[in-house]
Symmetry: none
Subunit: 210 residues, 4 copies
């Protein structure tokens, strides 16, 4: 019975301390998953990492699924926020497109564990629905973001005409694909070089030919 004592059903806004606990647990979950893999990250281990009892997690989250869901949300939103701030600071579409890529790589470098965890988690969706939901939450917004930049560029005439959706998918794909190789072996790829190369390719792909 969900009562006043169950934080998961409270009408009141969550206590400050409650929010803090949730964030603390989510953060520890990310660390644990990045360090040992999702399969090895039992609630007990995550709780250990925080130094709390296993039951505390059950108290603050409806279950493991909810915790992982919040981990994903945290992973994605943090990244999106940073990238958006890079893009917003750029003056024009050309710069914004460049900023999108730069922001993406910059965030990667600063938060390696996030991506190691993400790669582990994103493979764990058993059902088609879960996969679809992840696409809707993770990829669709990213592609839309890139598309909006591309549209502006086409509107201003900086970019030539091309299918925005397709190019968005390829750009985002290249970023993710390079990230993936870097997750598996940090020294396998040089992120800075790849970023520069990708920017160069994208620049050529979008510019108007004279």
């Amino acid at each position: 019975m969900r009562s006043k004592n169950d934080p998961r059903s409270r009408r009141r806004s969550p206590t400050f301390i409650e929010e803090a606990r949730r964030r603390q647990i989510v953060a520890s979950a990310i660390t644990t998953i990045a360090g040992s893999g999702l399969a090895q990250s039992s609630l007990a281990r995550i709780a250990d990492e925080v130094g709390i009892s296993k039951s505390v997690i059950s108290y603050h989250f409806a279950g493991k699924d909810e915790l992982i869901a919040e981990v994903i949300t945290s992973l994605l939103s943090e990244s999106n926020r940073v990238i958006k701030s890079w893009v917003d600071r750029a003056p024009d579409p050309t710069a914004k497109l460049r900023a999108y890529i730069e922001g993406s790589f910059a965030f990667m470098i600063e938060h390696r564990a996030n991506f190691v965890a993400l790669v582990d988690i994103w493979g764990s969706f058993g059902t088609v629905e879960a996969k679809r939901a992840f696409n809707a939450a993770a990829y669709e917004p990213c592609r839309r973001h890139i598309e909006s930049i591309l549209r502006k560029g086409q509107d201003t005439g900086e970019f030539r005409q091309f299918d925005r959706r397709t190019l968005s998918a390829v750009i985002q794909g290249a970023i993710d694909g390079v990230m993936l190789q870097w997750v598996f072996e940090e020294r396998a790829v040089d992120l800075a070089d790849c970023m520069a190369e990708l920017i160069s390719m994208v620049t050529m792909a979008t510019r108007t030919f004279e």
Copy 2:
């Protein structure tokens, strides 16, 4: 206790029937993983899929790890083989580079389940060593393959000078990144369009400017 009584340790070449069983089990494992996720693919479920007893898997494989390892090998080698055949049939570096991309996408389309399974599996490496090993088995050979094509192109003067390793990583990354989006939601991206766009970008990125 690998011995005469253990089919997994035979010195001589495996029986025909045994090889068939192993392939059958691996194939079923791929289907199951693609359909329900690695975490839900217990040996019992995989065995059910084949219509055999759970023990049969234990009889032919040392354990789940060995089975999954063989699944990975199967997934990667089949893909590499097909791509290689596309590349080998192409007459010159420019065509080969194009063929690498075309072959990659063609294989994807023909074997969606393989990639759905692969994305699930590749996130399941808990340790740094396992991740590193996957990189060595999966990515390094691909990048090397692309690099060798690029080198030939530079040697013949068809391609301009650029860092081959970096470009290889970006090309392979773009292929994988697009594939990833398609794995999560089949209709989110149009593989044919993405392939064409990627080929166009790569063509521009490699060609000599006059």
Copy 3:
């Protein structure tokens, strides 16, 4: 993953209730082993005997090995404690030696199940190391105890000169060997008679000849 969430790794002294559970489980394990043999004493059966879920054992013990180890410790220490108390109450070496034997047999009679279980367990050490460890834990202390009594007797001149280590091994061996026959068939030997005979033999073997 021994941690805060694992009762088996607590830094502080174990809860009263926890200690009680452990003792209860150990006691049940002894009963089960004595009744059905070690090989038939699965955790499930032992748990049934206590009337608890199988998982409770896993919760309180790291595994079956730890449980069996504690069973052994319990078996040996209880016996040693009782024998020691008999010996300590005896006034002189001659009486002490007699008390050692009497205490041993008295404890046997009172705790038949312990010895039935012990005989089953002591054969279960597969490796040389495990056997050696059992010797160190079970036999060496007993022989040492007897040796110390013998030494005192020699010091006081009550006993003649002989090799203490050898006689200790033979005395302990005779006690165990008679116990063994009694474990296999309770009515095959009369413990009281055997005890008397053994005491008589030992008395003759140690006494000074005039």
Copy 4:
């Protein structure tokens, strides 16, 4: 259906080759059990030791139980045969009693593996019936043998009057108990010294006082 093709139900006396196989398997079982413990001695392992297929054992023995039963029989009969030959060669009761002990220890030293295996197996009888059967097969004959020697000695007046059954149990017990310590740790006891001490004790216990 037990037919002519089933060696376990054949009326004809077993083939020579069949007997050889059985003995070979039994011998390997002893080695395996002595080396790794009964629990680790699966039919597969034993078969490996012989270099045959697991099914061969099933073919020659009704099951694992029958194999172990034959192992026990082999272990006991071999020992008894040797001891008997020592005793038979001795001229009088005093010498025979001494020979019984000497033969026992001599056989131990020559066949350590047999006893390591025996100690492992004798603990594996789960039911009271099995224990009782082992007593009847293993101990009762030994005690009877000693008793018969003792009786002869009393008849001839070499030995004083005492309860033969009790002394038999103690003598056999001492032999087994020393053996037990030696099984767990070969260097814990000196068999020769123990044998000498035991002979001395038994001599004193039986001789007529003047």
